[in-house]
Symmetry: C2
Subunit: 114 residues, 2 copies
């Protein structure tokens, strides 16, 4: 189960902002991988949450949240994730950009004073 937006978290923590454009190649393979990666990410130490949206034109944003930079580095090196990254570059993504950022503050609709 995914909550969207990701729940309130306690800064500081880290965000991986992944913007990508899908090719039109291998939709079934891509969707299976994307689901599996979310399932697998949830099991990693330091994982805090994920928000992911893709529109019908193929533009997608996935933001995953992590306790530390070490947790992000370990997830990047995870064997099954490394295969997904390689296939992403090879066939699923026409373009992508990945940014790593330290979240310093946050608020949400549930925090709003009347």
């Amino acid at each position: 189960m995914t909550t969207f937006p990701a729940p309130a978290l306690e800064p500081p923590y880290y965000a991986v902002i992944f913007a990508s454009v899908r090719t039109t190649t291998d939709d079934a393979g891509y969707h299976a991988m994307a689901e599996r990666m979310v399932e697998l990410a949830r099991q990693q130490p330091g994982f805090l949450g994920v928000e992911s949206v893709r529109d019908s034109s193929g533009s997608g944003l996935t933001v995953s949240y992590w306790q530390t930079l070490d947790a992000i580095a370990a997830w990047r090196r995870h064997a099954e994730h490394a295969i997904a990254q390689r296939e992403g570059k090879r066939q699923w993504y026409a373009a992508f950009r990945l940014r790593i950022a330290r979240v310093e503050r946050e608020y949400g609709s549930e925090d709003i004073r009347p």
Copy 2:
């Protein structure tokens, strides 16, 4: 014109990660506001780029990039943007969460070594 992903930028800089769920209210008003806010944001000092995606279920992610925290604070207080924020809370968003983060590193598909 919007480039997606946003272009390569030089860290450090700042990201505003805005995750929201649309209500089913006032689609025309919402879309007009959303377009106007992107147009207006581009004209603000310190604006670096924006990535925005919404899917057919109403989940949306918008990440805007800024040179400094002061630029973000000034944009937040911008009069026309303040009206949009108020209307967003009042009628357009069922839920949202906003996170402010310092981007520390980045790379993209065009940077990849063979």
